[in-house]
Symmetry: C2
Subunit: 437 residues, 2 copies
């Protein structure tokens, strides 16, 4: 049997502890699968004395992960610290420069420094695996990086944040408000005390940026992502969506268009009968459309210690099955130096259907004025519903429009026009509709 | 750059021609991804003169695929001939024995000879890749063999035959009979002139046998699969399923139970709100449940030249990225010689919910007799519906039972009892219910 693979783990939080437990508990089967033992020989975390419910065994302790990356007796450095700068960045860079394979679950780090780190990995002939960084346990990186060789991707989209999907699922199922669901998510540990990063779409954007690079062979550009969160989604939107045959999901979407690549994160209406619409709660899902394979969808747990640890262990096993001197495919599908520059499509050029919900004064001529603004901007309507719910006391009414494919620019102009007309009681709500099977 | 990977393709039908087109059309991108050129240097098919709409270029022609496997100047032998014996078996065996990597789309061959072929591959240190053999373009082999390292699988199930799913989808959507839908499927090329292999579950069983080995680390045992096809599914079943919140799918299911491994292929009721219930038409889907990752579902095109070719090219690319002397993981997850013997669970021990539809004489006491037979066999009922549709002219009625979890043995005994009681007008219909999220 080949020599044991020596593993160093930096960061012993939920995921790190889970990974340790899996590596120990499934040691015999992993050895059978990989043809060699997988042994944790070094660990590093902030607090040595904390009880994590795991055996550190004979693993050497390092207070400093960068020191571990440089000097420990390891073949693979596993980074589970988190954060796009500081020790996480420093130790991954140090490990790659020292010629060690790296496994990381750090989406923020890759979204910011992924290409530079890939260049180091490729020049050193080592692997940089990051399955756990996107959609937790779902093997979307392996699928796009390996299984889809030869495919040209036209669109990749997905539910990439469990917190948001949990909130939207409960809002729909139980008729609760956004704030009530967020509080429950916080109580259950699905949302942070400061939930901004999740609910405003930043987390989804980091993951999307990585998928975009894999999809289109371009450099990662997380700063160029159009972003809208879910905090302004109301019961009125969710109910109207349901009546129209849609469900609202926070999607990350990357799409190749004539004017460049669209990267956008926003609440999206998907057809209720589509597969992605059935992805409930904290579950994630990613769909990829290509010229040869067609459309593929993967769904599964997007977070949690065990699911994330599963992806980390899969990445380590891939390294264990490789042999010294072996060089696997490039980190982002094609060599980092050959990644195309990112060419951004303007959001105003986005084409698609739109849901527009307007709360207007209940007076003569409003409906006609709204219809005219749409027509003036050459927006063709699939449906238009006008309602005067009792709760509005006869002074206001709701107008809900669903457009055929049009442009973002046209919709913005039309809605600006309606606003100027002075009929609106409330801020207009605009939600993009996404095609999905 | 490394030397070109030399590829020999045996079988130039739909999939072979598609693979040739992808390898030629995406040559530059594949070279970028793999770090070397991928060149088809040899081909073999039955008829050299046939126009396949592809350029054979400088590839050497072989009339005999076994001859090509042994003597051609190739690194990878791609078998796209089909069939579990004859030339397909002979040439794959010859190629492996000659120390060449093999890529195959042949589920029948692997279901029968997979373990023996894996032993040869592993002893020669070459790869045997077969992503295209199960669920076409869906990367389920890569997912189970690589991404799920360290996971213990409890159940794998899926829609593995596009023909059956197409028929069931149309029956439900359009209220057509099985025979009408089958005829349309044949006209559209989704079903063979002799459709037995698809509609009676044999094709699903071959694919399931491979997934079972990957899931449970056991030897392949396709002959031990319990099998029921979809030809006796009627509109009455589909409509009753819909009313009860279920949809009927032909599933292949493999499950670890206390008494051994269950492998079964049969029409199955899955909850309408589950993800797998939204998989329509010729699309396939596979779900895997494990201890660490949780539940993962993949859906996508399960057949067709391009989707299958995508999987074949992915397999070839994986070989191209490997280097001489490199040994990847074992063919079926663990080394062929260490695969466990297959321990079969008795179908009578299967536990689950059941849908039972009885057509009975419309007379006093029938309902009570049916209920008594269920109670006598300790079957607890979730729902029981009695109906006398007009079409039955007042002489017959329908009794539909949905049971809580019980055993196959109990259900068979109860249904035998009801049959003996002499109340049945027609053959009883029994459809298993499968838990799915």
């Amino acid at each position: 049997m080949a020599e044991a693979l020596r593993i160093g783990i930096a960061g012993l939080g939920t995921v790190g502890a889970s990974a340790m437990r899996v590596l120990a508990g499934k040691a015999a089967e992993l050895t059978r699968q990989c043809g060699r033992d997988l042994v944790v020989t070094a660990v590093s975390a902030r607090d040595r004395s904390r009880d994590r419910g795991i055996e550190l065994g004979a693993a050497e302790w390092f207070d400093d992960p960068v020191d571990m990356a440089r000097t420990a007796d390891i073949d693979v450095f596993v980074e589970l610290i988190g954060g796009d700068e500081g020790p996480a960045h420093a130790c991954v860079k140090a490990a790659l420069e020292a010629g060690r394979h790296v496994v990381t679950a750090n989406k923020a780090l890759l979204a910011k420094h992924g290409v530079a780190l890939a260049e180091i990995a490729e020049s050193k002939g080592v692997l940089l695996n990051y399955e756990a960084a996107v959609a937790g346990g779902i093997p979307i990186i392996k699928t796009m990086r390996e299984a889809m060789a030869g495919n040209t991707v036209s669109r990749v989209f997905g539910i990439l944040n469990g917190t948001c999907n949990y909130i939207l699922t409960r809002m729909e199922a139980e008729g609760l408000s956004f704030d009530e669901c967020l509080k429950d998510a916080q109580r259950l540990g699905y949302a942070e005390a400061d939930p901004t990063f999740d609910i405003e779409g930043h987390d989804t954007a980091h993951k999307l940026a990585i998928l975009t690079s894999l999809a289109f062979g371009c450099r990662i550009s997380a700063d160029d992502i159009y972003m809208e969160g879910i905090s302004n989604i109301s019961q009125a939107d969710i109910q109207a969506a349901g009546e129209l045959g849609y469900r609202i999901k926070l999607l990350g979407v990357a799409q190749q268009t004539e004017s460049g690549i669209e990267q956008r994160v926003h609440p999206t209406m998907v057809p209720t009968a589509s597969v992605i619409a059935q992805v409930h709660g904290v579950t994630n899902a990613v769909a990829v459309e290509t010229d040869i394979l067609g459309e593929l969808l993967l769904s599964g747990p997007g977070a949690g210690g065990n699911a994330t640890a599963s992806a980390v262990v899969g990445d380590i096993a891939d390294i264990a099955k490789s042999r010294p001197g072996f060089q696997h495919g490039p980190v982002f599908g094609r060599p980092a130096r050959e990644l195309n520059p990112y060419r951004k499509a303007r959001m105003r050029s986005h084409e698609g259907g739109y849901f527009i919900r307007l709360t207007v004064h209940d007076r003569v001529g409003v409906f006609a004025a709204v219809a005219k603004r749409m027509a003036d901007n050459e927006i063709s309507l699939e449906s238009i519903v006008q309602r005067a719910p009792k709760s509005m006391n006869g002074t206001k009414k709701t107008v809900i429009l669903v457009t055929h494919a049009t442009t973002e620019a046209a919709v913005r102009k039309a809605v600006e026009g309606v606003t100027k007309d002075g009929h609106l009681v409330d801020k207009p709500q605009v939600i993009r509709i996404e095609r999905a099977d």
